[in-house]
């Protein structure tokens, strides 16, 4: 008898356990967390509005569809996907008040994964009032994984002022020197070897930064005296940069703060300007409010081999914001 009762107890426990297990699975659809909805324009009937949804998954599951059911009526437009994070690539469609994001190849999404979906091309309802969006994640069955969870309230109104602030992509480029003259004399070392610094500063909000290039006249530092003598470039470009060799030479080296100077100038190496232009410094992100400083040290050295006269050149620095 005790054996029988033990067996019966075991059976009862098994039944209760399985019931509990099934009960848990049936009620596993939990609420999404950190649900947030924002719109780029909250004027009624506004077109081309972008809706952004942020939330975190509460249950691990293979998400095939996410439905965004906007309360009220009057939602219109053909949505397009601007960005999606935390969820696979997919397609979007709208039917009445419900926008459906369908994942192309559904994969398991763990608990607590932040999901962000940004949809453009929507038209707000023409009725002023407070709206919410109920978000639901579902499997391909379809079975609900999480939700429906209501978002925060977004108020569409006709008597408000829509504010749009547009910040242009801007770049400021400053040169502290517009021209310079070096009074040189081969008779004294201090006058035979001189350097003129040109300090360039750059400020930009371009996300990918900027590129700085430099070029000069094809003839280089040349005199208009008989025979058009030149003070030769120290090298044929940055690829053949050298430590200063002395003699009759004209060249430059670059140091930078904020920006990255080209490696050709490391170790105080000098290069000659080239007519076709060469990149000398760059930056791969925006500068923020602090300007980058790029110092170009222009060096000229002469000896008695240099013919007397005025030598001239035009050095052009071009800065271009990068694309992003």
């Amino acid at each position: 008898m005790p054996g029988r009762s033990r067996r019966a107890l075991m059976i009862v426990l098994a039944i209760v356990g399985s019931m509990l297990a099934f009960g848990t699975s049936a009620a596993q659809a939990a609420a999404l967390t950190n649900v947030n909805w924002s719109v780029t324009n909250n004027q009624v009937s506004a077109t081309g509005v972008t809706y952004s949804y942020n939330f975190k998954t509460a249950t691990t599951g293979t998400i095939k569809t996410i439905t965004f059911a906007v309360s009220g009526s009057g939602l219109a437009g053909s949505p397009a996907i601007v960005k999606n994070y935390g969820i696979g690539a997919g397609s979007v469609s709208r039917s009445g008040q419900t926008i459906t994001y369908t994942v192309t190849t559904a994969v398991s999404v763990s608990t607590g994964i932040p999901i962000y979906v940004e949809l453009s091309g929507l038209t707000n309802s023409s009725t002023a009032g407070s709206y919410t969006t109920s978000i639901t994640t579902q499997t391909s069955a379809p079975a609900t994984i999480d939700g429906a969870t209501a978002s925060n309230t977004v108020t569409l109104a006709s008597n408000n002022t829509a504010v749009t602030v547009t910040v242009d992509k801007s770049l400021t480029f400053t040169s502290d020197t517009q021209s310079y003259t070096l009074a040189m004399d081969p008779g004294l070392p201090a006058l035979a070897d001189q350097t003129q610094n040109v300090v360039l500063t750059v400020l930009t909000n371009a996300n990918s930064g900027y590129t700085l290039t430099v070029s000069d006249n094809t003839a280089g530092l040349q005199s208009s005296s008989t025979g058009n003598p030149v003070i030769a470039d120290v090298s044929a470009g940055k690829a053949t940069s050298v430590t200063w060799p002395g003699g009759d030479r004209f060249g430059y080296t670059v140091t930078a703060t904020g920006a990255t100077a080209d490696a050709a100038f490391s170790g105080s190496k000098y290069a000659g300007y080239v007519g076709t232009g060469e990149q000398i410094a760059s930056r791969s992100n925006a500068t923020g409010a602090t300007a980058d400083t790029i110092t170009i040290a222009n060096r000229v050295s002469i000896d008695y081999g240099a013919q007397a006269g005025d030598y001239t050149d035009t050095v052009t620095y071009t800065v271009t914001p990068n694309y992003n």
Partner: protein, 365 residues
């Protein structure tokens, strides 16, 4: 004859005259120096941040702005230029106008003078070709200050810029991507998928192998096992021109001193239309071993060797003392005793005399 009272007056006049001449000379010298090296020349250019949508055959104006944040007026010239897009966002402005936009974008023919601390809005009229494929197009231009020759070397600071035109419509986009883990290298031997450090570092390359420009976005998820949670680093929307590449450094942190870190890169980009997206998934699993684990292992190894040697030494009695001790006489005949001398050098019975002594042999071997 001059009256005595007039003499100082004349002197005063002479002194005043000299002072005026000197002042004028000083002013001239100062202005000459200023002309020789004028103050800084700042210049700024702004363009629309986002692509401007223009359908084929449309005529529209796109506004750019030239600003003068300086304290002196600046005269500039704006001219159309070909723009070359490179890898990782690099832009190079060409020396000639872009044949595609030459005559289709009207740049101001005259120079523009911008007073100090002011700006000029320049509305550029764009006439779109009747037939142009849906894509992103870049219209480049150069804003160059007009320089009056002064001094031996003229310095020109010019700004090259561009704005983007989006011709709407379905298009064929195609990206490829690869993910390479930086392995740790020891003595020129690299261990694949093993990193000595606290984090796994990988390089993600995204290439545009299609026929149109692509704006993509993505994320890099990193998880470690053992460990919990997934870190999600988002890649903001970025452009890749045709035939070019974007490079990202991807980092996944290990939770434990010895940990498997999984890096998953997900690249998203629009399909033919923007109603659907495409995805590229790449994953790498890396064994991350903290350098402290290696240090600890070396310390343990050294300690183990030291302990083993110490134990071994303890088992052997000190040889010097043994040599001095008289060898205990074993019973039996001496010939028998010397029969197996090595055997007798057991653990508890060390031999008093070394079996063999090495000596240097003079001369050639």
């Amino acid at each position: 004859m001059l009256r005595p009272s007039l003499v100082p007056r004349r002197r005063l006049r002479t002194i005043l005259g000299l002072a005026v001449v000197l002042t004028l000379l000083c002013l001239a010298a100062v202005s000459a120096i200023a002309a020789g090296k004028a103050g800084p020349r700042p210049l700024a250019v702004s363009v629309p941040a986002d692509p401007v949508v223009l359908a084929p055959g449309k005529v529209s104006t796109i506004r750019i702005r030239v600003l003068n944040p300086g304290t002196q007026a600046v005269t500039v010239r704006i001219s159309g230029r070909h723009v070359d897009l490179g890898d990782n966002g690099a832009v190079a402005i060409g020396t000639a106008p872009d044949p595609l936009w030459n005559g289709r974008v009207q740049f101001p023919g005259r120079t523009l003078t911008i007073p100090a601390q002011r700006y000029v809005n320049v509305d550029l009229t764009v006439r779109m070709p009747e037939k142009i494929d849906p894509d992103l197009y870049f219209v480049g231009f150069l804003v160059s200050p007009v320089v009056t020759p002064n001094g031996q070397v003229q310095v020109v600071n010019e700004i090259g810029s561009f704005f983007t035109i989006d011709v709407p419509g379905p298009r064929s986009r195609k990206l490829t991507a690869d993910l390479h883990v930086d392995p740790s290298v020891f003595a020129d031997i690299s261990l694949p998928n093993v990193v000595i450090g606290s984090r796994a570092r990988a390089i993600l390359h995204v290439r545009n192998v299609g026929t149109t420009q692509v704006r993509f976005w993505g994320e890099v998820d990193s998880s470690s096992s053992p460990g919990s949670g997934v870190a999600q680093d988002r890649i903001d929307k970025s452009l890749i021109p045709r035939g070019h590449i974007r490079t990202f450094t991807v980092i996944g942190k290990a939770t434990w001193p010895i940990d498997f870190v999984k890096l998953t890169a997900r690249i998203f980009y629009p399909g033919q239309t923007e109603e659907s997206t495409r995805e590229i998934d790449l994953s790498k699993r890396v064994l991350v071993i903290s350098p402290w684990v290696i240090v600890a292992a070396i310390v343990l190894l050294v300690a183990a060797v030291w302990y083993w040697r110490r134990r071994r030494k303890r088992r052997q009695p000190p040889s010097g003392k043994v040599r001095r001790k008289p060898v205990p006489t074993a019973p039996g005949n001496p010939a028998e005793r010397r029969l197996f001398p090595r055997r007798r050098r057991g653990v508890n019975e060390p031999s008093g005399v070394p079996d063999r002594v090495s000596e240097t042999i003079p001369g050639r071997r």
